[in-house]
């Protein structure tokens, strides 16, 4: 009698466990496609445009507003691109890899936002390119641990450019910003689009 009631229960649990395992394997495999390629290219084009526009600004505030506007545009493009890509793949927007990426990526970005406010208040604008690139690099390396290998590699390039920018003249800092937020995003985005789909 006990066996009769236990057997369906065991079958039910086993089948449910298998479905959970399949979903888990698909979610982990999905992390290879969650990062948007063409979205990254558009973010890079935004960064490149910001670098050109900012270089032509004489006033520090105009330079800052240009880069902050570019950051808002790039962030929006990134979120929309991830949303579209996950929808196309039939995967949830906040899947486990996406949540892990967001949780690892966010702290350094938040620290960057706070440091930006503090440095602007202290009128230390010349430090901003180095700080932005270094913290963006830290965020990308941390978030990239849950993504394709090229993402943490991209983060290392950001750290490299940030180090140069931090100890160089403002002109070199601007060039590093253009290379990091412009060229690097375009190249990596194109590679991701080619290897892992749009």
């Amino acid at each position: 009698m006990t066996r009769q009631t236990d057997e369906p229960s065991s079958l039910y649990e086993h089948a449910a466990e298998n479905l959970v395992y399949i979903r888990d394997a698909m979610e982990r495999a999905g992390s290879f496609t969650a990062v948007p390629g063409w979205g990254g290219v558009i973010m890079g084009l935004t960064g490149a445009a910001a670098a050109i526009i900012a270089a032509g600004q004489d006033a520090r505030d105009a330079w800052l507003v240009t880069w902050l506007a570019a950051a808002v545009i790039a962030f929006t493009v990134g979120v929309v691109a991830v949303l579209l890509k996950s929808r196309e793949a039939g995967a949830p927007f906040l899947s486990r890899p996406a949540r892990q990426f967001a949780l690892s990526f966010s702290p350094a970005i938040l620290a960057g936002a706070l440091l930006t406010a503090a440095l602007v208040r202290a009128e230390l604008h010349s430090l901003l390119p180095g700080v932005w690139l270094l913290l963006c690099g830290a965020a990308v390396v941390a978030g990239g641990a849950f993504s394709v290998r090229i993402i943490p590699l991209m983060g290392l390039f950001f750290l490299f450019l940030g180090t140069i920018a931090l100890f160089s003249s403002p002109l070199i800092g601007d060039v590093c910003l253009g290379l990091g937020f412009g060229a690097l995003h375009i190249v990596v985005g194109a590679i991701i689009a080619r290897r892992y789909g749009g």
Binding site: T5, P8, S9, L11, Y12, A15, A16, N18, L19, Y21, I22, A25, M26, R28, A29, G30, F32, T33, G37, E88, A89, G90, A91, A193, R194, R195, Y196, G197, G198
Partner: protein
């Protein structure tokens, strides 16, 4: 445009393919080849990604070279995955893809699991 990940929506279980009343009795007929955890993992991963290299699958499924090699070969022999071997420079590169038969087999397995859950939910 480059490679595109297959749409996992195509793997949405359709329980009408397996009658609920026969699901428990038909458990013995389950595709034993897929029922193994690692082999199930390989098929599930390849169902949402067009291809994976041997190393990517090994890291993804947290297994050893020998284990993955044995189980991937069984799936290959059954015609559920295709395997392409090449060289990247001097390094051997093995790439796996899910075949149409493999996708159908995984679909059947998912159908069976869902039917089993529905059928046993009332009895448990």
């Amino acid at each position: 445009m480059g490679k595109k990940a297959p749409n996992p929506k195509r793997l949405t279980p359709s329980p009408e393919l397996i009658p609920m009343e026969g699901a428990v009795e038909k458990t013995a007929e389950l595709d034993r080849l897929i029922h193994d955890r690692l082999r199930l993992g390989i098929l599930s991963a390849l169902a949402v990604n067009e291809s994976f290299s041997f190393t990517e699958l090994k890291n993804l499924l947290k297994t050893t070279d020998g284990n993955l090699s044995v189980h991937a070969r069984k799936l290959e022999e059954a015609g559920y995955v295709s395997c392409r071997k090449s060289f990247q420079g001097r390094v051997p590169h093995t790439e796996y893809r899910l075949t149409t038969n493999g996708r159908r087999a995984l679909q059947r397995y998912l159908d069976h699991m869902e039917a089993l859950i529905i059928a046993t939910r009332g009895r448990a």
